[in-house]
Amino acid sequence: MHENFFNLFVRSVFIDNMIFAYFLGMCSFLAVSKTVKTSLGLGIAVTFVLLVTAPFNWVIDHYMLKAGALAWLSPSFESLDLSYLSFLIFIASIAAMVQLVEMIVEKVSPPLYNQLGIFLPLIAVNCVILAVALFVQEREYSSISDVMAFSLGSGFGWFLAIVAMAAIREKLKYSNIPKPLRGLGITFIITGLMAISFMAIMGIKI
Protein backbone atom coordinates (compact mmCIF):
# COMPACT_ATOMS: atom_id res chain seq x y z
CA MET A 1 0.00 0.00 0.00
CA HIS A 2 2.18 2.76 -1.35
CA GLU A 3 1.03 6.24 -0.49
CA ASN A 4 1.98 9.42 -2.21
CA PHE A 5 4.77 11.03 -0.17
CA PHE A 6 3.40 14.55 -0.42
CA ASN A 7 -0.16 13.47 0.42
CA LEU A 8 0.98 11.63 3.51
CA PHE A 9 3.17 14.56 4.54
CA VAL A 10 0.41 17.16 4.25
CA ARG A 11 -2.04 14.84 5.97
CA SER A 12 0.33 14.35 8.91
CA VAL A 13 0.95 18.08 9.28
CA PHE A 14 -2.65 19.30 9.31
CA ILE A 15 -5.29 16.60 9.46
CA ASP A 16 -3.46 14.21 11.77
CA ASN A 17 -1.73 17.00 13.67
CA MET A 18 -0.04 15.46 16.69
CA ILE A 19 -1.12 18.21 19.06
CA PHE A 20 -4.56 19.22 17.87
CA ALA A 21 -5.89 15.88 16.71
CA TYR A 22 -4.11 13.40 18.96
CA PHE A 23 -2.93 15.54 21.91
CA LEU A 24 0.52 14.02 22.05
CA GLY A 25 3.50 15.94 23.38
CA MET A 26 1.20 18.17 25.43
CA CYS A 27 3.37 18.43 28.53
CA SER A 28 6.36 20.01 26.82
CA PHE A 29 3.98 21.89 24.51
CA LEU A 30 2.36 23.60 27.51
CA ALA A 31 5.56 24.09 29.45
CA VAL A 32 7.79 25.46 26.71
CA SER A 33 5.36 27.57 24.68
CA LYS A 34 5.93 30.69 26.75
CA THR A 35 8.27 32.36 24.23
CA VAL A 36 8.63 31.94 20.48
CA LYS A 37 12.41 31.59 20.70
CA THR A 38 12.42 28.48 22.92
CA SER A 39 9.51 27.00 20.96
CA LEU A 40 11.44 27.28 17.70
CA GLY A 41 14.38 25.41 19.25
CA LEU A 42 12.27 22.65 20.76
CA GLY A 43 10.14 22.25 17.61
CA ILE A 44 13.19 21.78 15.43
CA ALA A 45 14.74 19.37 17.93
CA VAL A 46 11.59 17.23 18.08
CA THR A 47 11.32 17.08 14.28
CA PHE A 48 14.95 16.06 13.97
CA VAL A 49 14.68 13.33 16.60
CA LEU A 50 11.51 12.01 14.93
CA LEU A 51 13.27 11.82 11.56
CA VAL A 52 16.06 9.81 13.12
CA THR A 53 14.13 7.44 15.42
CA ALA A 54 10.97 6.60 13.45
CA PRO A 55 12.67 4.90 10.47
CA PHE A 56 15.12 3.17 12.81
CA ASN A 57 12.27 1.72 14.88
CA TRP A 58 10.44 0.72 11.70
CA VAL A 59 13.47 -1.25 10.57
CA ILE A 60 13.67 -2.96 13.97
CA ASP A 61 9.98 -3.82 13.84
CA HIS A 62 10.11 -5.02 10.26
CA TYR A 63 13.17 -7.23 10.60
CA MET A 64 13.00 -8.33 14.23
CA LEU A 65 9.70 -7.93 16.02
CA LYS A 66 6.84 -8.63 13.61
CA ALA A 67 5.29 -12.07 13.30
CA GLY A 68 7.62 -14.08 11.09
CA ALA A 69 10.05 -11.18 10.86
CA LEU A 70 13.05 -13.21 11.96
CA ALA A 71 12.66 -15.60 9.03
CA TRP A 72 15.71 -14.05 7.33
CA LEU A 73 17.87 -15.40 10.14
CA SER A 74 16.71 -18.99 9.89
CA PRO A 75 13.52 -20.68 8.61
CA SER A 76 12.82 -22.17 12.03
CA PHE A 77 12.13 -18.67 13.37
CA GLU A 78 9.20 -18.22 10.98
CA SER A 79 6.56 -18.64 13.68
CA LEU A 80 8.18 -16.27 16.17
CA ASP A 81 6.24 -13.13 17.02
CA LEU A 82 8.14 -10.76 19.26
CA SER A 83 5.82 -7.76 18.98
CA TYR A 84 5.02 -7.86 22.69
CA LEU A 85 8.55 -6.57 23.23
CA SER A 86 7.84 -3.52 21.05
CA PHE A 87 7.43 -1.07 23.92
CA LEU A 88 10.69 -2.03 25.54
CA ILE A 89 12.74 -2.14 22.36
CA PHE A 90 11.27 1.07 20.92
CA ILE A 91 11.78 3.15 24.05
CA ALA A 92 15.28 1.79 24.59
CA SER A 93 16.24 2.59 20.99
CA ILE A 94 14.71 6.06 21.31
CA ALA A 95 16.65 6.77 24.50
CA ALA A 96 19.85 5.50 22.90
CA MET A 97 19.25 7.50 19.68
CA VAL A 98 18.59 10.69 21.61
CA GLN A 99 21.80 10.19 23.59
CA LEU A 100 23.66 9.64 20.31
CA VAL A 101 22.10 12.74 18.70
CA GLU A 102 23.04 14.77 21.77
CA MET A 103 26.68 13.65 21.54
CA ILE A 104 26.85 14.33 17.79
CA VAL A 105 25.27 17.79 18.11
CA GLU A 106 27.67 18.63 20.92
CA LYS A 107 30.63 17.67 18.72
CA VAL A 108 29.44 19.14 15.43
CA SER A 109 27.76 22.38 16.50
CA PRO A 110 28.35 23.57 20.10
CA PRO A 111 26.27 26.77 19.70
CA LEU A 112 23.26 24.70 18.65
CA TYR A 113 23.90 22.36 21.57
CA ASN A 114 23.97 25.28 23.98
CA GLN A 115 20.77 26.68 22.55
CA LEU A 116 18.88 23.39 22.87
CA GLY A 117 20.21 22.96 26.38
CA ILE A 118 18.08 20.75 28.55
CA PHE A 119 15.49 20.06 25.84
CA LEU A 120 17.39 17.34 24.04
CA PRO A 121 17.33 14.75 26.85
CA LEU A 122 13.76 15.79 27.60
CA ILE A 123 12.71 14.81 24.10
CA ALA A 124 13.42 11.15 24.81
CA VAL A 125 10.36 11.06 27.03
CA ASN A 126 8.21 13.21 24.79
CA CYS A 127 5.13 11.13 23.98
CA VAL A 128 5.25 12.16 20.31
CA ILE A 129 8.42 10.19 19.61
CA LEU A 130 7.16 6.89 21.00
CA ALA A 131 3.68 7.54 19.59
CA VAL A 132 4.97 7.99 16.04
CA ALA A 133 6.91 4.72 16.33
CA LEU A 134 3.79 2.94 17.63
CA PHE A 135 1.52 4.50 14.98
CA VAL A 136 3.93 3.36 12.25
CA GLN A 137 3.68 -0.15 13.68
CA GLU A 138 -0.11 -0.02 14.05
CA ARG A 139 -0.77 1.37 10.57
CA GLU A 140 1.65 -1.14 9.04
CA TYR A 141 3.41 1.20 6.65
CA SER A 142 5.22 -0.95 4.17
CA SER A 143 7.95 1.30 2.84
CA ILE A 144 10.52 3.55 4.40
CA SER A 145 9.43 6.56 2.35
CA ASP A 146 5.97 6.31 3.96
CA VAL A 147 7.60 6.27 7.37
CA MET A 148 9.73 9.29 6.51
CA ALA A 149 6.76 11.24 5.17
CA PHE A 150 4.74 10.47 8.28
CA SER A 151 7.49 11.31 10.77
CA LEU A 152 8.54 14.47 8.94
CA GLY A 153 4.91 15.58 8.73
CA SER A 154 4.20 14.80 12.39
CA GLY A 155 7.29 16.69 13.52
CA PHE A 156 6.53 19.67 11.35
CA GLY A 157 2.91 19.74 12.53
CA TRP A 158 4.08 19.69 16.16
CA PHE A 159 6.55 22.47 15.39
CA LEU A 160 3.83 24.64 13.82
CA ALA A 161 1.54 24.07 16.79
CA ILE A 162 4.04 25.00 19.46
CA VAL A 163 5.29 28.10 17.64
CA ALA A 164 1.72 29.29 17.01
CA MET A 165 0.85 28.80 20.68
CA ALA A 166 3.97 30.66 21.80
CA ALA A 167 3.13 33.59 19.54
CA ILE A 168 -0.39 33.75 20.99
CA ARG A 169 0.83 33.51 24.58
CA GLU A 170 3.32 36.30 24.03
CA LYS A 171 0.49 38.54 22.87
CA LEU A 172 -1.71 37.41 25.76
CA LYS A 173 0.60 39.07 28.25
CA TYR A 174 -1.09 42.37 27.43
CA SER A 175 -4.67 41.25 27.98
CA ASN A 176 -6.78 41.32 31.10
CA ILE A 177 -7.41 37.71 32.05
CA PRO A 178 -8.95 36.86 35.46
CA LYS A 179 -6.21 35.85 37.89
CA PRO A 180 -7.15 32.19 38.44
CA LEU A 181 -7.23 31.65 34.70
CA ARG A 182 -3.86 33.23 33.94
CA GLY A 183 -1.02 31.13 32.62
CA LEU A 184 -1.97 27.45 32.48
CA GLY A 185 -5.75 27.78 32.51
CA ILE A 186 -6.08 30.09 29.54
CA THR A 187 -3.49 28.08 27.63
CA PHE A 188 -5.65 24.97 27.90
CA ILE A 189 -8.72 26.83 26.71
CA ILE A 190 -6.85 28.38 23.79
CA THR A 191 -5.43 25.01 22.77
CA GLY A 192 -8.99 23.69 22.84
CA LEU A 193 -10.18 26.52 20.60
CA MET A 194 -7.30 25.97 18.19
CA ALA A 195 -8.15 22.29 18.14
CA ILE A 196 -11.75 23.12 17.24
CA SER A 197 -10.53 25.21 14.33
CA PHE A 198 -8.31 22.32 13.16
CA MET A 199 -11.39 20.13 13.19
CA ALA A 200 -12.59 22.09 10.20
CA ILE A 201 -10.12 20.16 8.07
CA MET A 202 -10.78 16.78 9.69
CA GLY A 203 -12.06 14.13 7.33
CA ILE A 204 -10.54 15.60 4.20
CA LYS A 205 -9.26 12.67 2.21
CA ILE A 206 -6.07 13.26 0.30
Binding site: F23, F87, P180, I196
Partner: protein
Protein backbone atom coordinates in the same frame (compact mmCIF):
# COMPACT_ATOMS: atom_id res chain seq x y z
CA UNK B 1 6.48 8.92 59.92
CA UNK B 2 2.93 7.73 59.30
CA UNK B 3 1.52 11.26 59.11
CA UNK B 4 4.29 12.15 56.66
CA UNK B 5 3.17 9.33 54.37
CA UNK B 6 -0.47 10.38 54.65
CA UNK B 7 0.57 13.86 53.45
CA UNK B 8 2.48 12.25 50.57
CA UNK B 9 -0.66 10.33 49.69
CA UNK B 10 -3.12 13.21 49.82
CA UNK B 11 -1.17 16.20 48.47
CA UNK B 12 -1.44 15.09 44.82
CA UNK B 13 -5.21 15.27 45.06
CA UNK B 14 -5.36 19.03 45.22
CA UNK B 15 -2.34 21.19 45.84
CA UNK B 16 0.08 19.07 43.85
CA UNK B 17 -2.30 17.48 41.38
CA UNK B 18 -0.23 15.99 38.58
CA UNK B 19 -2.47 17.26 35.80
CA UNK B 20 -3.62 20.67 36.91
CA UNK B 21 -0.60 21.81 38.94
CA UNK B 22 2.45 19.82 37.90
CA UNK B 23 1.37 19.80 34.22
CA UNK B 24 2.19 16.13 33.82
CA UNK B 25 0.27 13.36 32.12
CA UNK B 26 -1.87 15.63 29.95
CA UNK B 27 -1.76 13.61 26.74
CA UNK B 28 -3.52 10.52 27.94
CA UNK B 29 -5.89 12.47 30.15
CA UNK B 30 -7.47 14.10 27.14
CA UNK B 31 -7.62 11.18 24.79
CA UNK B 32 -9.19 8.47 26.94
CA UNK B 33 -11.87 10.47 28.75
CA UNK B 34 -14.61 10.17 26.13
CA UNK B 35 -16.25 7.48 28.20
CA UNK B 36 -16.11 6.62 31.87
CA UNK B 37 -14.99 2.99 31.57
CA UNK B 38 -11.72 3.53 29.62
CA UNK B 39 -10.92 6.49 31.89
CA UNK B 40 -11.17 4.35 35.01
CA UNK B 41 -9.11 1.55 33.45
CA UNK B 42 -6.47 4.06 32.37
CA UNK B 43 -6.40 5.69 35.80
CA UNK B 44 -5.95 2.32 37.50
CA UNK B 45 -3.21 1.29 35.05
CA UNK B 46 -1.27 4.51 35.60
CA UNK B 47 -1.64 4.20 39.38
CA UNK B 48 -0.34 0.62 39.35
CA UNK B 49 2.59 1.42 37.06
CA UNK B 50 3.56 4.60 38.93
CA UNK B 51 3.42 2.92 42.33
CA UNK B 52 5.47 -0.13 41.36
CA UNK B 53 8.03 1.69 39.24
CA UNK B 54 8.52 4.18 42.08
CA UNK B 55 9.05 1.23 44.42
CA UNK B 56 11.54 -0.58 42.18
CA UNK B 57 13.59 2.49 41.27
CA UNK B 58 13.65 3.60 44.90
CA UNK B 59 15.02 0.21 45.91
CA UNK B 60 17.70 0.51 43.18
CA UNK B 61 18.42 4.19 43.65
CA UNK B 62 21.83 3.80 45.24
CA UNK B 63 23.14 1.39 42.63
CA UNK B 64 22.18 3.11 39.37
CA UNK B 65 25.10 4.97 37.74
CA UNK B 66 24.14 8.55 36.95
CA UNK B 67 24.87 8.43 33.22
CA UNK B 68 22.42 5.66 32.39
CA UNK B 69 19.80 6.76 34.88
CA UNK B 70 17.15 7.61 32.28
CA UNK B 71 17.62 4.37 30.36
CA UNK B 72 17.28 2.25 33.50
CA UNK B 73 14.12 4.12 34.52
CA UNK B 74 12.63 3.74 31.06
CA UNK B 75 13.40 0.01 30.96
CA UNK B 76 11.76 -0.60 34.34
CA UNK B 77 8.68 1.41 33.37
CA UNK B 78 8.45 -0.25 29.95
CA UNK B 79 8.58 -3.72 31.49
CA UNK B 80 5.76 -2.85 33.91
CA UNK B 81 3.67 -1.35 31.11
CA UNK B 82 4.08 -4.50 29.00
CA UNK B 83 2.73 -6.54 31.91
CA UNK B 84 -0.21 -4.17 32.43
CA UNK B 85 -0.93 -4.15 28.69
CA UNK B 86 -1.02 -7.96 28.52
CA UNK B 87 -3.31 -8.10 31.58
CA UNK B 88 -5.66 -5.55 29.99
CA UNK B 89 -5.69 -7.43 26.68
CA UNK B 90 -6.56 -10.61 28.55
CA UNK B 91 -9.32 -9.36 30.85
CA UNK B 92 -10.88 -6.25 29.27
CA UNK B 93 -10.12 -6.60 25.58
CA UNK B 94 -12.75 -4.11 24.36
CA UNK B 95 -11.44 -1.35 26.63
CA UNK B 96 -7.87 -2.21 25.65
CA UNK B 97 -8.78 -1.68 21.99
CA UNK B 98 -10.25 1.73 22.80
CA UNK B 99 -7.09 2.72 24.64
CA UNK B 100 -4.90 1.39 21.78
CA UNK B 101 -1.56 3.23 21.68
CA UNK B 102 -2.25 5.13 24.88
CA UNK B 103 -1.45 2.14 27.07
CA UNK B 104 1.99 2.06 25.49
CA UNK B 105 2.25 5.78 25.99
CA UNK B 106 2.03 5.31 29.76
CA UNK B 107 5.77 4.72 29.40
CA UNK B 108 6.31 8.28 28.31
CA UNK B 109 3.61 9.60 30.60
CA UNK B 110 5.40 12.51 32.18
CA UNK B 111 3.95 11.65 35.59
CA UNK B 112 6.11 8.55 35.78
CA UNK B 113 9.38 10.17 34.78
CA UNK B 114 8.51 13.22 36.83
CA UNK B 115 7.87 11.29 40.05
CA UNK B 116 10.82 8.94 39.46
CA UNK B 117 13.22 11.85 39.12
CA UNK B 118 11.68 14.06 41.77
CA UNK B 119 10.78 11.52 44.45
CA UNK B 120 11.84 7.92 43.96
CA UNK B 121 15.50 8.72 43.34
CA UNK B 122 15.83 10.43 46.71
CA UNK B 123 13.34 8.71 49.00
CA UNK B 124 12.85 5.38 50.71
CA UNK B 125 10.91 2.56 48.97
CA UNK B 126 7.72 2.61 51.03
CA UNK B 127 7.37 6.42 50.81
CA UNK B 128 7.96 6.22 47.06
CA UNK B 129 5.29 3.54 46.70
CA UNK B 130 2.80 5.72 48.59
CA UNK B 131 3.78 8.74 46.48
CA UNK B 132 3.17 6.71 43.33
CA UNK B 133 -0.28 5.71 44.53
CA UNK B 134 -1.08 9.30 45.55
CA UNK B 135 -0.13 10.77 42.20
CA UNK B 136 -1.87 7.97 40.31
CA UNK B 137 -5.06 8.57 42.28
CA UNK B 138 -4.84 12.36 41.81
CA UNK B 139 -4.49 11.74 38.08
CA UNK B 140 -7.41 9.26 38.09
CA UNK B 141 -9.55 11.77 39.96
CA UNK B 142 -9.19 14.35 37.19
CA UNK B 143 -9.69 11.68 34.53
CA UNK B 144 -12.92 10.49 36.13
CA UNK B 145 -14.20 14.07 36.49
CA UNK B 146 -13.49 14.76 32.81
CA UNK B 147 -14.97 11.48 31.60
CA UNK B 148 -18.05 11.92 33.80
CA UNK B 149 -18.99 15.22 32.20
CA UNK B 150 -17.95 14.27 28.70
CA UNK B 151 -19.91 11.03 28.63
CA UNK B 152 -22.95 12.42 30.46
CA UNK B 153 -23.29 15.57 28.38
CA UNK B 154 -21.96 14.09 25.16
CA UNK B 155 -23.80 10.78 25.00
CA UNK B 156 -26.35 11.04 27.77
CA UNK B 157 -25.01 7.88 29.35
CA UNK B 158 -22.61 6.65 32.01
CA UNK B 159 -20.77 3.35 31.69
CA UNK B 160 -22.77 2.79 28.55
CA UNK B 161 -26.09 2.91 30.39
CA UNK B 162 -28.51 5.64 29.37
CA UNK B 163 -28.95 8.11 32.22
CA UNK B 164 -30.87 10.96 30.65
CA UNK B 165 -34.46 9.76 30.27
CA UNK B 166 -36.14 9.68 26.88
CA UNK B 167 -38.61 12.35 28.00
CA UNK B 168 -35.81 14.93 27.99
CA UNK B 169 -35.03 14.11 24.38
CA UNK B 170 -38.68 14.37 23.46
CA UNK B 171 -38.76 17.86 24.93
CA UNK B 172 -36.01 18.90 22.54
CA UNK B 173 -32.87 18.22 24.60
CA UNK B 174 -29.96 17.13 22.44
CA UNK B 175 -26.63 15.59 23.35
CA UNK B 176 -23.77 18.08 23.19
CA UNK B 177 -21.73 16.37 20.49
CA UNK B 178 -18.81 18.72 21.03
CA UNK B 179 -18.20 16.97 24.35
CA UNK B 180 -17.23 13.76 22.61
CA UNK B 181 -14.67 15.56 20.50
CA UNK B 182 -11.14 16.12 21.83
CA UNK B 183 -11.08 19.93 22.03
CA UNK B 184 -13.76 19.91 24.72
CA UNK B 185 -11.47 17.95 27.02
CA UNK B 186 -8.94 20.76 26.84
CA UNK B 187 -11.53 23.40 27.59
CA UNK B 188 -12.90 21.33 30.49
CA UNK B 189 -9.41 21.02 31.99
CA UNK B 190 -9.04 24.80 31.67
CA UNK B 191 -12.29 25.22 33.58
CA UNK B 192 -11.19 22.72 36.26
CA UNK B 193 -7.96 24.68 36.68
CA UNK B 194 -9.96 27.89 36.93
CA UNK B 195 -12.15 26.43 39.68
CA UNK B 196 -9.19 24.94 41.51
CA UNK B 197 -7.19 28.16 41.46
CA UNK B 198 -10.14 30.24 42.56
CA UNK B 199 -10.41 28.04 45.64
CA UNK B 200 -6.66 27.88 46.31
CA UNK B 201 -5.21 31.33 45.84
CA UNK B 202 -1.68 29.99 46.42
CA UNK B 203 -1.68 28.28 43.03
CA UNK B 204 -2.19 31.45 41.00
CA UNK B 205 0.85 32.33 38.92
CA UNK B 206 1.78 35.93 38.57
Amino acid sequence: MATNNIKVLTKPFNLENPITVQVLGICSALAVTVQLKPAIVMGLSVTVVTAFSNLIISMLRNTIPNRIRIIVQLVVVAALVIIVDQVLKAYVYDVSKKLSVFVGLIITNCILMGRLEAFAMVNKPWASFVDGIGNGLGYSFILIALAFFRELLGSGSLFGMKIIPQSFYDLGYQNNSLMILPPMALILVGVIIWIQRSKNRSLIEE
